[in-house]
Amino acid sequence: MKSRYSIFSLARNALNYHKDWERAWRSPAPKAEYDAVIVGAGGHGLATAYYLAKNHKMTNIAILEKGWLGGGNTGRNTTIIRSNYLQDSSIAIYELARSLYEGLSQDLNYNVMFSPRGVLMLCQTEHELRAFKRTAHANRLAGLDCRMITAKEVKEIVPIINDDPNCRYPILGAYYQPRGGTGRHDAVAWGYARGADSLGVDVIQNCEVTNIMRDGGKVVGLETTRGVIKTKKVGVVTAGNVSPLMQTAGIRMPIESLCLQALVSEPIKPVIDCVVMANTVHGYISQSDKGELVIGGGTDPYNNYSQRGSFPSLEHTVTALVETFPIISRLRMLRLWGGIVDMTGDRSPIISKTDVEGLYVNCGWGTGGFKAIPGSGFVFADTMANDRPHPIAEPFGLNRFAEGRLIDESVAAAVAH
Protein backbone atom coordinates (compact mmCIF):
# COMPACT_ATOMS: atom_id res chain seq x y z
CA MET A 1 0.00 0.00 0.00
CA LYS A 2 1.24 3.42 -0.88
CA SER A 3 1.82 6.18 1.61
CA ARG A 4 -1.10 8.53 1.48
CA TYR A 5 -1.11 11.97 -0.02
CA SER A 6 -2.25 14.74 2.29
CA ILE A 7 -1.41 18.25 3.37
CA PHE A 8 0.68 16.64 6.12
CA SER A 9 2.66 14.40 3.83
CA LEU A 10 3.24 17.41 1.61
CA ALA A 11 4.57 19.44 4.55
CA ARG A 12 6.68 16.55 5.81
CA ASN A 13 8.23 16.05 2.40
CA ALA A 14 8.82 19.78 1.95
CA LEU A 15 11.18 19.71 4.93
CA ASN A 16 13.25 17.20 3.06
CA TYR A 17 13.03 18.99 -0.29
CA HIS A 18 10.64 16.33 -1.62
CA LYS A 19 13.35 13.70 -1.94
CA ASP A 20 11.33 10.91 -0.41
CA TRP A 21 8.17 10.80 -2.44
CA GLU A 22 7.68 7.31 -3.74
CA ARG A 23 6.81 6.48 -7.29
CA ALA A 24 3.18 6.97 -8.20
CA TRP A 25 3.35 3.60 -9.96
CA ARG A 26 5.96 0.95 -10.57
CA SER A 27 7.49 0.16 -13.91
CA PRO A 28 7.23 -3.61 -13.90
CA ALA A 29 8.38 -6.04 -16.56
CA PRO A 30 5.53 -8.10 -17.98
CA LYS A 31 5.01 -11.46 -16.39
CA ALA A 32 4.53 -14.57 -18.50
CA GLU A 33 0.90 -14.97 -17.53
CA TYR A 34 -1.93 -13.00 -15.94
CA ASP A 35 -5.48 -13.79 -14.91
CA ALA A 36 -6.64 -10.92 -17.08
CA VAL A 37 -5.07 -8.27 -19.27
CA ILE A 38 -6.46 -4.89 -20.21
CA VAL A 39 -5.15 -3.49 -23.48
CA GLY A 40 -4.93 0.27 -23.48
CA ALA A 41 -4.01 2.40 -20.47
CA GLY A 42 -6.29 5.32 -21.10
CA GLY A 43 -8.83 6.38 -18.53
CA HIS A 44 -11.32 3.63 -19.37
CA GLY A 45 -8.69 0.90 -19.32
CA LEU A 46 -7.08 2.11 -16.11
CA ALA A 47 -10.45 2.44 -14.40
CA THR A 48 -11.31 -1.10 -15.50
CA ALA A 49 -8.06 -2.42 -14.06
CA TYR A 50 -8.62 -0.52 -10.82
CA TYR A 51 -12.15 -1.82 -10.34
CA LEU A 52 -11.17 -5.37 -11.31
CA ALA A 53 -8.65 -5.25 -8.49
CA LYS A 54 -10.74 -3.30 -6.02
CA ASN A 55 -14.25 -4.65 -6.55
CA HIS A 56 -13.49 -8.11 -7.89
CA LYS A 57 -10.22 -8.83 -6.11
CA MET A 58 -8.50 -9.73 -9.36
CA THR A 59 -4.98 -8.54 -8.65
CA ASN A 60 -2.90 -10.80 -10.87
CA ILE A 61 -3.69 -8.63 -13.83
CA ALA A 62 -1.87 -6.27 -16.12
CA ILE A 63 -2.72 -3.28 -18.20
CA LEU A 64 -0.67 -2.76 -21.37
CA GLU A 65 -0.08 0.55 -23.07
CA LYS A 66 1.73 1.04 -26.35
CA GLY A 67 2.85 4.56 -25.41
CA TRP A 68 2.50 6.43 -22.16
CA LEU A 69 -0.50 5.97 -19.92
CA GLY A 70 -3.26 8.50 -20.39
CA GLY A 71 -1.65 9.61 -23.64
CA GLY A 72 -4.64 9.12 -25.93
CA ASN A 73 -7.99 10.79 -25.73
CA THR A 74 -7.89 10.82 -21.93
CA GLY A 75 -5.26 13.52 -22.08
CA ARG A 76 -6.71 15.31 -25.06
CA ASN A 77 -10.31 16.09 -24.25
CA THR A 78 -12.04 19.16 -22.89
CA THR A 79 -12.73 17.44 -19.53
CA ILE A 80 -16.47 18.00 -19.42
CA ILE A 81 -18.44 15.82 -17.02
CA ARG A 82 -22.21 15.66 -17.31
CA SER A 83 -24.94 13.03 -17.51
CA ASN A 84 -27.86 14.84 -19.12
CA TYR A 85 -28.61 12.33 -21.85
CA LEU A 86 -31.99 11.46 -23.23
CA GLN A 87 -32.08 7.68 -23.40
CA ASP A 88 -32.44 5.72 -20.19
CA SER A 89 -29.44 3.54 -20.91
CA SER A 90 -27.24 6.57 -21.49
CA ILE A 91 -28.44 8.33 -18.37
CA ALA A 92 -27.67 5.22 -16.35
CA ILE A 93 -24.03 4.93 -17.31
CA TYR A 94 -23.15 8.61 -17.42
CA GLU A 95 -24.85 9.28 -14.11
CA LEU A 96 -23.06 6.34 -12.52
CA ALA A 97 -19.83 7.86 -13.78
CA ARG A 98 -20.69 11.36 -12.60
CA SER A 99 -21.59 10.17 -9.13
CA LEU A 100 -18.35 8.16 -8.91
CA TYR A 101 -16.45 11.28 -9.94
CA GLU A 102 -17.86 13.06 -6.89
CA GLY A 103 -15.88 10.88 -4.53
CA LEU A 104 -13.08 9.87 -6.81
CA SER A 105 -10.34 12.06 -5.33
CA GLN A 106 -10.98 10.55 -1.92
CA ASP A 107 -11.34 7.00 -3.26
CA LEU A 108 -8.06 7.23 -5.18
CA ASN A 109 -6.30 9.49 -2.68
CA TYR A 110 -5.38 11.61 -5.67
CA ASN A 111 -6.91 14.97 -6.43
CA VAL A 112 -8.64 14.62 -9.79
CA MET A 113 -10.07 18.09 -9.28
CA PHE A 114 -13.65 17.17 -10.06
CA SER A 115 -15.24 20.56 -10.23
CA PRO A 116 -19.05 20.45 -10.27
CA ARG A 117 -19.25 23.99 -11.53
CA GLY A 118 -22.40 23.39 -13.57
CA VAL A 119 -23.05 22.65 -17.22
CA LEU A 120 -25.25 24.91 -19.33
CA MET A 121 -26.60 23.75 -22.66
CA LEU A 122 -27.80 26.75 -24.56
CA CYS A 123 -31.08 26.73 -26.44
CA GLN A 124 -30.69 28.96 -29.48
CA THR A 125 -33.65 27.91 -31.58
CA GLU A 126 -37.24 27.04 -30.70
CA HIS A 127 -36.54 23.53 -31.85
CA GLU A 128 -33.55 23.21 -29.58
CA LEU A 129 -35.54 24.64 -26.69
CA ARG A 130 -38.24 22.01 -27.23
CA ALA A 131 -35.65 19.25 -27.44
CA PHE A 132 -33.96 20.29 -24.20
CA LYS A 133 -37.28 20.67 -22.43
CA ARG A 134 -37.92 17.07 -23.32
CA THR A 135 -34.48 16.07 -22.04
CA ALA A 136 -35.06 18.00 -18.84
CA HIS A 137 -38.37 16.21 -18.27
CA ALA A 138 -36.78 12.84 -18.87
CA ASN A 139 -33.74 13.62 -16.72
CA ARG A 140 -35.80 14.95 -13.84
CA LEU A 141 -37.92 11.81 -13.74
CA ALA A 142 -34.76 9.72 -13.94
CA GLY A 143 -33.63 11.44 -10.77
CA LEU A 144 -31.05 13.84 -12.18
CA ASP A 145 -30.61 17.25 -10.66
CA CYS A 146 -31.34 19.52 -13.59
CA ARG A 147 -33.60 22.33 -14.69
CA MET A 148 -34.42 24.64 -17.55
CA ILE A 149 -33.37 28.22 -16.97
CA THR A 150 -34.35 31.44 -18.70
CA ALA A 151 -32.21 33.65 -20.89
CA LYS A 152 -31.97 36.10 -18.00
CA GLU A 153 -30.65 33.43 -15.67
CA VAL A 154 -28.15 32.39 -18.34
CA LYS A 155 -26.85 35.95 -18.45
CA GLU A 156 -26.51 35.99 -14.67
CA ILE A 157 -24.51 32.78 -14.64
CA VAL A 158 -22.44 33.72 -17.72
CA PRO A 159 -22.19 37.51 -17.82
CA ILE A 160 -19.99 37.52 -20.93
CA ILE A 161 -22.64 35.84 -23.08
CA ASN A 162 -24.12 37.75 -26.00
CA ASP A 163 -27.68 38.43 -24.87
CA ASP A 164 -28.71 40.50 -27.88
CA PRO A 165 -32.20 39.15 -28.69
CA ASN A 166 -31.67 40.09 -32.34
CA CYS A 167 -28.42 38.22 -32.90
CA ARG A 168 -28.25 35.33 -35.32
CA TYR A 169 -29.00 32.70 -32.69
CA PRO A 170 -30.39 34.47 -29.64
CA ILE A 171 -30.27 32.73 -26.27
CA LEU A 172 -33.78 31.50 -25.56
CA GLY A 173 -32.89 29.68 -22.38
CA ALA A 174 -30.75 26.80 -21.33
CA TYR A 175 -30.74 23.36 -19.87
CA TYR A 176 -28.76 23.47 -16.62
CA GLN A 177 -27.14 20.58 -14.82
CA PRO A 178 -25.64 22.16 -11.71
CA ARG A 179 -23.73 19.04 -10.71
CA GLY A 180 -21.95 18.63 -14.02
CA GLY A 181 -18.60 20.23 -14.49
CA THR A 182 -15.04 19.38 -15.30
CA GLY A 183 -12.15 17.32 -13.97
CA ARG A 184 -8.40 17.27 -14.43
CA HIS A 185 -8.03 14.72 -17.21
CA ASP A 186 -4.43 13.65 -16.62
CA ALA A 187 -5.08 13.30 -12.91
CA VAL A 188 -7.89 10.84 -13.61
CA ALA A 189 -5.50 8.61 -15.55
CA TRP A 190 -2.71 9.04 -13.01
CA GLY A 191 -4.97 8.54 -10.04
CA TYR A 192 -6.39 5.30 -11.44
CA ALA A 193 -2.90 4.15 -12.42
CA ARG A 194 -1.57 4.83 -8.94
CA GLY A 195 -4.63 3.21 -7.40
CA ALA A 196 -4.42 0.12 -9.57
CA ASP A 197 -0.69 -0.19 -9.05
CA SER A 198 -1.08 -0.01 -5.29
CA LEU A 199 -3.56 -2.89 -5.47
CA GLY A 200 -0.97 -4.97 -7.32
CA VAL A 201 -1.91 -4.37 -10.93
CA ASP A 202 1.05 -4.28 -13.32
CA VAL A 203 0.82 -1.06 -15.32
CA ILE A 204 3.11 -1.69 -18.27
CA GLN A 205 3.89 1.17 -20.63
CA ASN A 206 5.67 1.06 -23.98
CA CYS A 207 4.23 -2.36 -24.67
CA GLU A 208 2.16 -2.63 -27.83
CA VAL A 209 -0.15 -5.57 -28.44
CA THR A 210 0.28 -6.82 -31.98
CA ASN A 211 -1.97 -9.85 -31.96
CA ILE A 212 -4.76 -11.39 -29.94
CA MET A 213 -3.96 -15.11 -29.74
CA ARG A 214 -6.83 -17.55 -29.96
CA ASP A 215 -7.27 -21.27 -29.62
CA GLY A 216 -10.51 -22.24 -31.25
CA GLY A 217 -13.02 -19.71 -30.05
CA LYS A 218 -11.08 -18.74 -26.95
CA VAL A 219 -8.51 -16.13 -26.08
CA VAL A 220 -5.23 -17.65 -24.93
CA GLY A 221 -2.86 -14.71 -24.89
CA LEU A 222 -1.41 -11.66 -26.47
CA GLU A 223 1.57 -11.08 -28.68
CA THR A 224 3.24 -7.86 -27.67
CA THR A 225 6.34 -5.89 -28.54
CA ARG A 226 7.68 -7.17 -25.22
CA GLY A 227 6.93 -10.82 -25.82
CA VAL A 228 4.00 -13.18 -25.49
CA ILE A 229 1.75 -12.83 -22.46
CA LYS A 230 -0.58 -15.71 -21.64
CA THR A 231 -4.05 -14.93 -20.39
CA LYS A 232 -7.62 -16.15 -20.78
CA LYS A 233 -9.33 -12.82 -20.31
CA VAL A 234 -8.60 -9.80 -22.42
CA GLY A 235 -10.34 -6.45 -22.30
CA VAL A 236 -9.63 -4.29 -25.32
CA VAL A 237 -9.96 -0.58 -24.52
CA THR A 238 -8.02 1.09 -27.30
CA ALA A 239 -10.42 3.76 -28.57
CA GLY A 240 -9.49 4.95 -32.05
CA ASN A 241 -7.12 2.05 -32.56
CA VAL A 242 -9.66 -0.63 -31.72
CA SER A 243 -10.43 -1.77 -35.26
CA PRO A 244 -6.99 -3.05 -36.32
CA LEU A 245 -6.49 -4.81 -32.99
CA MET A 246 -9.89 -6.53 -32.91
CA GLN A 247 -9.32 -7.59 -36.46
CA THR A 248 -6.44 -9.77 -35.24
CA ALA A 249 -9.10 -11.72 -33.33
CA GLY A 250 -11.24 -11.94 -36.44
CA ILE A 251 -13.78 -9.40 -35.22
CA ARG A 252 -14.88 -6.56 -37.46
CA MET A 253 -15.98 -3.49 -35.60
CA PRO A 254 -18.77 -0.99 -36.26
CA ILE A 255 -16.29 1.81 -35.70
CA GLU A 256 -14.72 4.61 -37.67
CA SER A 257 -11.75 6.57 -36.40
CA LEU A 258 -12.02 10.30 -36.83
CA CYS A 259 -10.04 13.28 -35.67
CA LEU A 260 -11.55 15.45 -32.97
CA GLN A 261 -9.77 18.63 -32.00
CA ALA A 262 -9.78 21.05 -29.15
CA LEU A 263 -7.94 24.22 -28.34
CA VAL A 264 -7.12 26.55 -25.50
CA SER A 265 -6.66 30.29 -25.28
CA GLU A 266 -3.91 32.07 -23.45
CA PRO A 267 -4.68 32.21 -19.73
CA ILE A 268 -6.76 35.12 -18.50
CA LYS A 269 -8.39 35.98 -15.20
CA PRO A 270 -11.69 34.10 -14.69
CA VAL A 271 -14.51 35.16 -17.01
CA ILE A 272 -16.60 32.01 -17.15
CA ASP A 273 -17.25 29.81 -14.16
CA CYS A 274 -19.27 26.98 -15.66
CA VAL A 275 -19.29 24.82 -18.78
CA VAL A 276 -21.29 26.24 -21.67
CA MET A 277 -22.29 24.10 -24.63
CA ALA A 278 -23.82 25.65 -27.74
CA ASN A 279 -24.99 22.75 -29.83
CA THR A 280 -26.70 24.66 -32.61
CA VAL A 281 -23.45 26.37 -33.53
CA HIS A 282 -21.20 23.43 -32.55
CA GLY A 283 -19.05 24.86 -29.82
CA TYR A 284 -18.43 24.41 -26.16
CA ILE A 285 -16.30 26.31 -23.73
CA SER A 286 -15.11 26.33 -20.15
CA GLN A 287 -12.23 27.97 -18.34
CA SER A 288 -9.53 25.89 -16.73
CA ASP A 289 -8.16 26.63 -13.30
CA LYS A 290 -5.07 27.91 -15.06
CA GLY A 291 -7.20 30.52 -16.81
CA GLU A 292 -7.18 29.04 -20.29
CA LEU A 293 -10.46 28.96 -22.17
CA VAL A 294 -10.92 25.35 -23.19
CA ILE A 295 -12.80 25.06 -26.45
CA GLY A 296 -14.04 22.08 -28.39
CA GLY A 297 -16.15 21.48 -31.46
CA GLY A 298 -17.00 18.73 -33.92
CA THR A 299 -14.99 16.05 -35.66
CA ASP A 300 -13.37 16.28 -39.06
CA PRO A 301 -15.59 14.51 -41.58
CA TYR A 302 -13.22 11.76 -42.70
CA ASN A 303 -11.18 8.93 -41.23
CA ASN A 304 -7.94 10.00 -39.66
CA TYR A 305 -5.39 8.14 -37.54
CA SER A 306 -2.86 10.96 -37.37
CA GLN A 307 -3.92 13.06 -34.35
CA ARG A 308 -3.49 16.02 -36.66
CA GLY A 309 -6.73 17.49 -37.79
CA SER A 310 -7.86 20.05 -40.29
CA PHE A 311 -8.75 23.62 -39.46
CA PRO A 312 -12.29 24.21 -40.80
CA SER A 313 -14.19 22.54 -37.98
CA LEU A 314 -12.25 24.51 -35.38
CA GLU A 315 -12.70 27.64 -37.41
CA HIS A 316 -16.46 27.18 -37.29
CA THR A 317 -16.35 26.57 -33.58
CA VAL A 318 -14.23 29.62 -32.84
CA THR A 319 -16.37 31.78 -35.11
CA ALA A 320 -19.48 30.62 -33.27
CA LEU A 321 -17.94 31.29 -29.89
CA VAL A 322 -16.74 34.76 -30.89
CA GLU A 323 -20.35 35.50 -31.75
CA THR A 324 -21.64 33.92 -28.54
CA PHE A 325 -18.97 35.43 -26.25
CA PRO A 326 -17.86 38.60 -28.05
CA ILE A 327 -15.07 39.50 -25.62
CA ILE A 328 -12.99 36.54 -26.75
CA SER A 329 -12.39 38.26 -30.07
CA ARG A 330 -9.26 39.93 -28.69
CA LEU A 331 -8.03 36.85 -26.84
CA ARG A 332 -5.71 34.48 -28.58
CA MET A 333 -5.54 30.82 -29.39
CA LEU A 334 -2.59 29.28 -27.63
CA ARG A 335 -2.60 25.64 -28.63
CA LEU A 336 -4.73 23.18 -30.53
CA TRP A 337 -4.48 19.44 -30.69
CA GLY A 338 -6.28 16.41 -32.02
CA GLY A 339 -7.24 12.97 -30.86
CA ILE A 340 -8.45 9.89 -32.68
CA VAL A 341 -12.00 9.22 -31.65
CA ASP A 342 -13.81 5.96 -32.25
CA MET A 343 -17.29 6.58 -33.59
CA THR A 344 -20.02 3.97 -33.78
CA GLY A 345 -22.99 4.09 -36.11
CA ASP A 346 -25.31 5.38 -33.37
CA ARG A 347 -22.66 7.50 -31.62
CA SER A 348 -23.07 5.46 -28.44
CA PRO A 349 -20.37 3.30 -26.91
CA ILE A 350 -19.79 -0.43 -26.99
CA ILE A 351 -19.28 -2.31 -23.73
CA SER A 352 -19.54 -5.90 -24.71
CA LYS A 353 -18.61 -9.51 -24.68
CA THR A 354 -17.66 -10.82 -28.08
CA ASP A 355 -18.02 -14.03 -30.04
CA VAL A 356 -14.54 -14.97 -28.87
CA GLU A 357 -14.60 -16.44 -25.40
CA GLY A 358 -12.64 -14.34 -22.94
CA LEU A 359 -12.45 -11.35 -25.24
CA TYR A 360 -14.25 -8.20 -24.15
CA VAL A 361 -14.33 -4.82 -25.74
CA ASN A 362 -15.02 -1.33 -24.44
CA CYS A 363 -14.86 1.36 -27.11
CA GLY A 364 -16.89 3.71 -29.24
CA TRP A 365 -16.88 6.55 -26.74
CA GLY A 366 -16.40 8.90 -29.62
CA THR A 367 -16.38 12.52 -28.64
CA GLY A 368 -17.62 12.10 -25.10
CA GLY A 369 -15.70 9.43 -23.24
CA PHE A 370 -13.98 11.37 -20.47
CA LYS A 371 -17.16 11.97 -18.55
CA ALA A 372 -17.88 8.24 -18.52
CA ILE A 373 -14.54 6.91 -17.32
CA PRO A 374 -15.42 5.79 -13.78
CA GLY A 375 -18.77 4.30 -14.82
CA SER A 376 -17.34 2.63 -17.87
CA GLY A 377 -14.51 1.05 -15.90
CA PHE A 378 -16.88 0.02 -13.13
CA VAL A 379 -19.34 -1.87 -15.34
CA PHE A 380 -16.71 -3.22 -17.73
CA ALA A 381 -14.72 -4.68 -14.82
CA ASP A 382 -17.91 -6.29 -13.57
CA THR A 383 -18.67 -7.63 -17.05
CA MET A 384 -15.20 -9.13 -17.38
CA ALA A 385 -15.08 -10.54 -13.89
CA ASN A 386 -18.45 -12.26 -14.18
CA ASP A 387 -18.42 -13.03 -17.89
CA ARG A 388 -21.84 -11.48 -18.38
CA PRO A 389 -22.88 -7.95 -19.09
CA HIS A 390 -23.41 -5.70 -16.09
CA PRO A 391 -27.04 -4.50 -16.29
CA ILE A 392 -25.91 -0.96 -17.11
CA ALA A 393 -23.55 -2.30 -19.80
CA GLU A 394 -26.10 -4.61 -21.34
CA PRO A 395 -27.78 -2.10 -23.70
CA PHE A 396 -24.34 -1.24 -25.08
CA GLY A 397 -23.64 -4.72 -26.40
CA LEU A 398 -22.40 -5.35 -29.93
CA ASN A 399 -25.56 -7.30 -30.70
CA ARG A 400 -27.59 -4.09 -30.84
CA PHE A 401 -26.38 -3.36 -34.36
CA ALA A 402 -27.92 -6.52 -35.79
CA GLU A 403 -31.16 -5.98 -33.86
CA GLY A 404 -31.55 -2.34 -34.81
CA ARG A 405 -31.56 -1.52 -31.11
CA LEU A 406 -29.67 1.72 -31.56
CA ILE A 407 -29.02 4.20 -28.78
CA ASP A 408 -29.03 7.40 -30.76
CA GLU A 409 -28.56 10.51 -28.69
CA SER A 410 -28.27 12.87 -31.62
CA VAL A 411 -32.03 12.78 -32.08
CA ALA A 412 -32.52 16.42 -31.25
CA ALA A 413 -30.70 17.23 -34.47
CA ALA A 414 -33.66 16.56 -36.73
CA VAL A 415 -34.92 19.77 -38.26
CA ALA A 416 -37.88 20.12 -40.53
CA HIS A 417 -40.71 22.41 -41.53
Partner: protein, 112 residues
Protein backbone atom coordinates in the same frame (compact mmCIF):
# COMPACT_ATOMS: atom_id res chain seq x y z
CA UNK B 1 -7.17 21.33 -44.97
CA UNK B 2 -6.88 18.55 -47.50
CA UNK B 3 -6.44 19.37 -51.15
CA UNK B 4 -8.86 17.22 -53.10
CA UNK B 5 -9.01 16.57 -56.82
CA UNK B 6 -12.18 15.68 -58.69
CA UNK B 7 -11.48 13.15 -61.41
CA UNK B 8 -14.76 14.00 -63.10
CA UNK B 9 -14.38 17.73 -63.73
CA UNK B 10 -10.74 18.20 -62.86
CA UNK B 11 -11.44 20.72 -60.15
CA UNK B 12 -8.93 20.85 -57.36
CA UNK B 13 -9.78 22.52 -54.14
CA UNK B 14 -10.04 22.59 -50.37
CA UNK B 15 -11.79 19.75 -48.60
CA UNK B 16 -14.61 22.18 -47.78
CA UNK B 17 -15.55 22.21 -51.48
CA UNK B 18 -16.00 18.45 -51.28
CA UNK B 19 -18.04 16.06 -49.21
CA UNK B 20 -16.54 12.94 -47.72
CA UNK B 21 -18.94 10.04 -48.12
CA UNK B 22 -17.28 7.38 -45.99
CA UNK B 23 -15.94 4.00 -46.93
CA UNK B 24 -16.05 2.93 -50.55
CA UNK B 25 -17.27 -0.35 -52.00
CA UNK B 26 -19.87 -1.06 -49.33
CA UNK B 27 -22.32 -3.53 -50.81
CA UNK B 28 -26.02 -2.92 -50.24
CA UNK B 29 -27.40 -6.44 -49.94
CA UNK B 30 -31.04 -5.58 -50.64
CA UNK B 31 -30.16 -4.20 -54.07
CA UNK B 32 -29.00 -7.63 -55.11
CA UNK B 33 -31.51 -9.80 -53.30
CA UNK B 34 -34.23 -7.89 -51.46
CA UNK B 35 -35.77 -11.00 -49.98
CA UNK B 36 -32.88 -12.83 -48.40
CA UNK B 37 -30.90 -10.38 -46.32
CA UNK B 38 -29.87 -11.69 -42.93
CA UNK B 39 -29.75 -9.43 -39.88
CA UNK B 40 -25.98 -9.87 -39.92
CA UNK B 41 -25.69 -8.87 -43.58
CA UNK B 42 -27.79 -5.80 -42.92
CA UNK B 43 -25.66 -4.92 -39.88
CA UNK B 44 -22.48 -5.29 -41.90
CA UNK B 45 -23.89 -3.06 -44.61
CA UNK B 46 -25.04 -0.36 -42.21
CA UNK B 47 -22.39 -0.35 -39.51
CA UNK B 48 -19.33 -2.48 -40.02
CA UNK B 49 -16.49 -0.51 -41.55
CA UNK B 50 -12.97 -1.39 -42.58
CA UNK B 51 -11.60 1.65 -40.73
CA UNK B 52 -8.18 0.99 -42.21
CA UNK B 53 -5.14 2.54 -40.62
CA UNK B 54 -3.09 3.43 -43.67
CA UNK B 55 -4.32 2.87 -47.20
CA UNK B 56 -8.07 3.34 -47.28
CA UNK B 57 -10.69 3.61 -50.01
CA UNK B 58 -13.43 6.19 -49.80
CA UNK B 59 -16.28 7.94 -51.54
CA UNK B 60 -16.16 11.69 -52.07
CA UNK B 61 -18.46 14.13 -53.82
CA UNK B 62 -17.44 17.23 -55.75
CA UNK B 63 -19.96 19.01 -53.58
CA UNK B 64 -19.48 22.60 -54.61
CA UNK B 65 -18.34 21.77 -58.13
CA UNK B 66 -19.77 19.34 -60.67
CA UNK B 67 -21.80 17.50 -58.04
CA UNK B 68 -20.50 14.08 -59.01
CA UNK B 69 -19.45 11.28 -56.70
CA UNK B 70 -16.08 9.64 -57.15
CA UNK B 71 -13.73 7.26 -55.37
CA UNK B 72 -10.42 8.10 -53.74
CA UNK B 73 -7.65 6.07 -52.20
CA UNK B 74 -6.18 7.85 -49.22
CA UNK B 75 -3.73 7.08 -46.47
CA UNK B 76 -5.48 7.70 -43.14
CA UNK B 77 -2.19 8.25 -41.35
CA UNK B 78 -0.35 10.58 -43.74
CA UNK B 79 -3.55 11.94 -45.35
CA UNK B 80 -2.00 11.57 -48.80
CA UNK B 81 -4.37 10.87 -51.66
CA UNK B 82 -2.96 7.98 -53.66
CA UNK B 83 -5.46 7.85 -56.50
CA UNK B 84 -8.86 9.03 -57.66
CA UNK B 85 -11.16 6.79 -59.69
CA UNK B 86 -14.71 6.59 -60.93
CA UNK B 87 -17.63 5.91 -58.63
CA UNK B 88 -18.45 2.66 -60.40
CA UNK B 89 -14.82 1.60 -60.74
CA UNK B 90 -12.34 -0.41 -58.73
CA UNK B 91 -9.05 1.17 -57.66
CA UNK B 92 -5.91 0.91 -59.78
CA UNK B 93 -4.51 -2.59 -59.63
CA UNK B 94 -1.30 -1.65 -57.81
CA UNK B 95 -3.30 -0.10 -54.99
CA UNK B 96 -5.50 -3.17 -54.67
CA UNK B 97 -2.29 -5.13 -54.35
CA UNK B 98 -0.94 -2.77 -51.71
CA UNK B 99 -4.10 -2.91 -49.63
CA UNK B 100 -3.81 -4.55 -46.23
CA UNK B 101 -6.12 -5.93 -43.58
CA UNK B 102 -9.78 -6.16 -44.47
CA UNK B 103 -9.21 -4.35 -47.73
CA UNK B 104 -6.78 -7.04 -48.85
CA UNK B 105 -9.51 -9.58 -48.21
CA UNK B 106 -12.01 -7.53 -50.16
CA UNK B 107 -9.79 -7.08 -53.20
CA UNK B 108 -8.55 -10.67 -53.28
CA UNK B 109 -11.35 -11.79 -55.61
CA UNK B 110 -11.18 -8.66 -57.72
CA UNK B 111 -7.50 -9.20 -58.49
CA UNK B 112 -8.10 -12.57 -60.04
Amino acid sequence: MLLVHCPVCGAEGDETDFHGGGQAHVRRPATHDPVNVSDEAQRDYLFIRHNAKGLHFERWRCDRGCGKWFHAARDTVTMEFKAYYGITELPPRELMEQATGEWAGYFKDKLK
